[in-house]
């Protein structure tokens, strides 16, 4: 059986899950991908991230 796109994607980042775990992993990644897409709403480029880098005086 040729490698699925998902298997190739997993291999590309260096992970080696058990073959039996692949379907569950793929479903989980699909959910996360969907969540990530929901974050891509209309957003100004000027919108700041939540966490800030702050320096303390010496």
């Amino acid at each position: 059986m040729s490698e699925s796109k998902f298997e190739a994607r997993v291999k590309a980042i260096g992970l080696r899950p058990k073959p039996d775990d692949l379907p569950m992993l793929e479903a989980l990644v699909k959910d996360l991908d969907r969540a990530a897409m929901m974050l891509r709403g209309p957003r100004s480029y000027a919108e700041e991230p939540l966490n800030a880098f702050r320096l303390k005086p010496a």
């Binding site: 700041e48 702050r54 320096l55």
Partner: protein
């Protein structure tokens, strides 16, 4: 009138009513007309606005109500600083017709100080993609030799100040974009402490690395410009809520008693600099010792260890800013920026988080290295400006840069001209201070600059009758 005046000189003459702001502005506009066809430092000259600002300043001069040292001084803004009602393009097709409704905080501050707005200055596309030849406007050229690179991304500001088209200007610095052009164009330019000067209203590249800062002919002028920029902005989440120091207070103290740490490994081992650059640093160290400073070497992790997390963070954050445009208008970007940004899509969340964790450790290392010194000295650039057509596309991957370590750690870092090397092109040193210790950085820079004669020389192409 004198072809070249510093802000300090012009300001003194204006205050004494010996120089008309209108005459000074017309003089600069005339220089733009004569030289910018070669230099391409301006994307937009705002002549009417400049003359209106100058007339207003002249009125205040006549009534003895000048606002301060920037009143009547011609300046330019890098074209990523929003200017109300004035096109702000990031030198990109994507914002070719963009007209902001509001000034950025820094633009508003300089306007309130009476500065004369000459126009919008060239930049690398979105402060990252340059030098590019496939954009709506050509790249800026180095006045010391117009076949050569200005460095970037504050390329237009570098060229315009060096050639005397403006007396000072804004830059931004995410990985070196103030200090690079300051180095290659022979200027003084400071990336202040992260959070000292508001980023609001400036088109972002990488929010946790972006800094706003000034560029000018002299260190003293930089101090004046920064004084008018700095200050807490509650609407910038990174803004430092602390009183603004007097950056000029220590200028005339000289180097006596200063404790100077030399980051020699950066410019001798990690990225060996040109002979003229190295000589400039050694001459500076000799001068500082002669003036009574204590000089010793300090050691930190290799420069690439600072560059690598810096570029991972920059690429990830920049990709997040640009992702919607990259998906819809990929080919409207210039090739250089487009390709550099695309790698951001290949970074994993864990890469970004790990880079930010590594960043904290490096901040601590640099802080420890500076525990017993007041400033660090190192190079700001590898050497003299290369030809503009010979700048490698992937330079940031190939060799570590001298400037990124101080974006990563947020420390104030000033580039100062330290002489002229091959082909008469400028070389520079970099002076780095502790957080919010800009006054000490300026003190060291001014002590060096006033002792050497480099400020008496201007680019040959800019000297004419």
């Amino acid at each position: 009138m004198e072809p070249f005046l510093t802000i300090t000189e012009a300001s003194g003459l204006i205050a004494a009513k010996k120089l008309s702001p209108v005459e000074l502005t017309r003089h600069c506009l005339d220089r733009v007309c004569k030289l910018d066809g070669t230099l391409h430092s301006f994307l937009l000259v705002t002549e009417d606005r400049a003359l209106a600002d100058a007339r207003a300043a002249e009125g205040r001069m006549m009534t003895g109500t000048l606002k301060g040292p920037l009143d009547g001084i011609p300046i330019g803004h890098k074209d990523i600083y929003n200017t109300a009602g004035i096109r702000t393009t990031a030198h990109s097709k994507l914002l070719e017709h963009n007209i902001p409704a509001e000034d950025s905080v820094v633009v508003a501050k300089w306007a309130a100080a009476g500065a004369v707005l000459m126009g919008k200055l060239a930049t690398h596309e979105f402060a990252m993609g340059g030098p590019s030849f496939d954009l709506p406007w050509p790249p800026a050229r180095n006045p010391w030799n117009p076949e050569h690179f200005t460095a970037g991304s504050s390329s237009g500001t570098g060229a315009a100040v060096a050639a005397g088209l403006v007396l000072g200007g804004t830059g931004s610095d995410t990985g070196g974009s103030i200090r690079g052009p300051s180095a290659l164009c022979g200027l003084a330019g400071i990336k202040p402490t992260y959070g000292l000067s508001s980023r609001r209203g400036v088109l972002p590249l990488s929010q946790t690395l972006d800094h706003t800062g000034p560029m000018a002919w002299t260190v003293q002028d930089c101090a004046l410009l920064l004084q008018a920029m700095a200050g807490y902005d509650p609407l910038d989440p990174a803004s430092a809520d602390r009183p603004v120091a007097d950056f000029s207070a220590d200028l005339d103290k000289g180097a006596k008693g200063l404790r100077i740490g030399v980051l020699r490994q950066f410019y001798e081992a990690d990225n060996p600099v040109s002979a003229a650059t190295k000589q400039g640093i050694e001459d500076a160290l000799t001068l500082f010792r002669d003036q009574g400073a204590e000089v010793r070497d300090v050691t930190v992790s290799p420069m690439m260890d600072y560059n690598a997390p810096g570029w991972v963070i920059l690429t990830a954050e920049a990709y997040a800013v640009h992702e919607p445009w990259l998906k819809e208008r990929f080919n409207d970007y210039g090739e250089l920026l487009r390709d550099r940004l695309a790698f951001g899509g290949l970074l994993r969340a864990v890469d970004y988080v790990q880079a930010q964790r590594r960043r904290l450790a490096l901040c601590q290392e640099m802080r420890d290295a500076m525990a017993d010194v007041d400033v660090l000295i190192t190079a700001s650039a590898q050497g003299e400006a290369p030809k503009i057509t010979e700048v490698p596309k992937w330079a940031m991957f190939e060799k570590p840069g001298f400037t990124m370590p101080f974006n990563l750690t947020g420390l104030p870092a000033l580039s100062v001209c330290s002489g002229y090397g091959a082909g008469g092109l400028p070389v520079s040193i970099q002076i780095v201070g502790k957080p919010f210790a800009e006054a000490t950085v300026f003190r060291a820079g001014h002590a060096y600059e006033t002792a050497m004669g480099w400020r008496n020389k201007r680019p040959a192409m800019s000297t004419f009758q």
